[in-house]
């Protein structure tokens, strides 16, 4: 194993280990426990490696995501779950020192292919971030922005239809229908996050990536988003990174546990949270020392 891998081990667990111990640990978690394949794969990732300069952030991860499933990615800080999520719509392209290798397919087509239009890809694979980030525009324009630049609406009426539908789907319409011309930034945190979800679904994506979408929200706003995630599953495939184990347990059908850049275990959420197979998964979800 190249020494760069040992160096890549994020500080929390590996800091106090010597090289041999680190290597042993890596060996122990190199093979994913559980079934990575699914019958109806929307996205399919094989041998994905990610480096930040010489830091090995994701190590040979294989994972399928089924259509209309919510998959939760959990793991300690620095385990690579967000990095992995960002690979799935090539958000890492914007990071200069980041190098991604392996195969990542959306409906069987390689999304890292040279011919792949990244803007189109991100319309198909939308993203919602930790902190709500509405544009400094009106509520209406926040949602209309994507359809406009992608030319999804032929006329004003169609655009309005898209905006209203998106806001309805994100569960926000009833609360904002009388002030669509007011700035999006004037909404509460939870409303802003639902606005961002409306913005993401306005371009009719197939997959929605969510990077800790509720970590800045109160329990009521969180419950609304979680309810929404379940609703959205009918039309979209969702991958969510979360630090809240309860949230992962509540919203997802499958859960993937990442550790030191490896995918340690993946399986049915119900099983992962009651009887995980890998000790590292057990230690993490029960709050034990790794």
């Amino acid at each position: 194993m190249p020494s760069s891998i040992a160096n890549a081990a994020p500080a929390a667990t590996a800091a106090n280990l010597n090289d041999q111990q680190t290597q042993d640990l890596h060996q122990k978690i190199a093979a994913t426990v559980g079934r990575i394949e699914v019958d109806d794969a929307k996205m399919s990732m094989r041998d994905v490696d990610v480096f930040y300069d010489d830091k090995h952030a994701i190590c040979a991860v294989n994972l399928d995501i089924a259509a209309h499933e919510v998959i939760a990615m959990i793991g300690p800080s620095g385990c690579g779950k967000s990095t992995f999520l960002r690979c799935m719509n090539r958000m890492n392209d914007t990071i200069e020192n980041c190098r991604v290798s392996g195969s990542l397919k959306l409906d069987g087509v390689d999304i890292y292919d040279k011919k792949q239009d990244v803007v189109q890809l991100r319309a198909r694979v939308g993203m919602v971030f930790q902190k709500p980030n509405p544009f400094p525009k009106s509520i209406y324009d926040n949602v209309a922005y994507g359809p406009r630049i992608h030319g999804l609406a032929a006329n004003r009426a169609e655009l309005e239809e898209i905006v209203v539908t998106s806001l309805e789907r994100s569960g926000l319409f009833a609360e904002v229908k009388d002030r669509l011309d007011k700035p999006g930034t004037g909404l509460s945190g939870g409303q802003q996050q639902r606005l961002c979800i409306a913005r993401a679904i306005a371009v009719n994506p197939e997959v929605i990536l969510m990077d800790e979408p509720c970590s800045a929200l109160d329990p009521i706003a969180t419950a609304r988003i979680e309810e929404l995630i379940d609703e959205l599953r009918k039309n979209y495939t969702i991958a969510i990174v979360t630090h809240s184990m309860q949230q992962a347990a509540r919203v997802s059908q499958r859960t993937a546990y990442f550790h030191l850049g490896y995918l340690v275990e993946v399986g049915e959420t119900a099983k992962i949270f009651t009887y995980p197979e890998h000790k590292l998964t057990e230690d993490y979800i029960t709050g034990r020392f790794g």
């Binding site: 184990m245 309860q246 347990a249 949270f273 009651t274 009887y275 995980p276 998964t281 057990e282 230690d283 979800i285 029960t286 709050g287 034990r288 020392f289």
Partner: protein, 238 residues
Amino acid sequence: MDANKLHLNDHISQQFNLELEDIRNKAMVMGGLVEKQVSDGLRALLEPNSELGEEVSTTDYRVNSLEVEIDEECTQILARRQPAASDLRLVVTIIKTVTDLERIGDEAEKIGRFAVSLATAQLRPGYYAELRHLGDHVKSMLHDALDAFARMDVDAAIATAAQDLKIDDEFESLSRLLITHMMEDPREVKNVLKVNWCARSLERIGDHAKNVCEYVIYMVKGKNVRHTSLDQMQELTD
């Protein structure tokens, strides 16, 4: 899984360690108390010793209050810690185990009460031998079940659960014998019925001990083996 392998002391939260350790200890204390109640109840019946029988029936409140106390602590843990995986299984196992232990306590209390009312009755000596035989078997099964619980030992749990069939058979044959005697001498019906109730209580204690064994298997293997045959139980845990 050895009980030490529960790794109850490995949580980042020391307080959580203590809480889980505490409910486990209390469940074992309750198990010990219940075991003593059964043993005393049986002794009161067989000696016979009405004073001891009285004591058993008035001591049941301690079993009940332990059940309430442990239940309350488990509820607190669920609310405050949202345990997962083995911790969750442990809490669920304890909640269910204490319910069965409390029921065993109730059966012991019944035996204690019958011991008081049968103390002055002139029973056939054969009944004592039969009850002693059944009682010893049940006591040993309960002891093994509690032992399997303390050590979280799946093999022991399966072996102990298997004893329940024999106990059921013993109860059935004793019951048949009692019915015959009641038909032979209807004047004895009242007392013989009481003996039958005692045997019935012992048989129920066996059922509850079997439940505890099933919870141990759930705790360790994460598999629900309730309402399955012994063969299926073995298969599910392989």
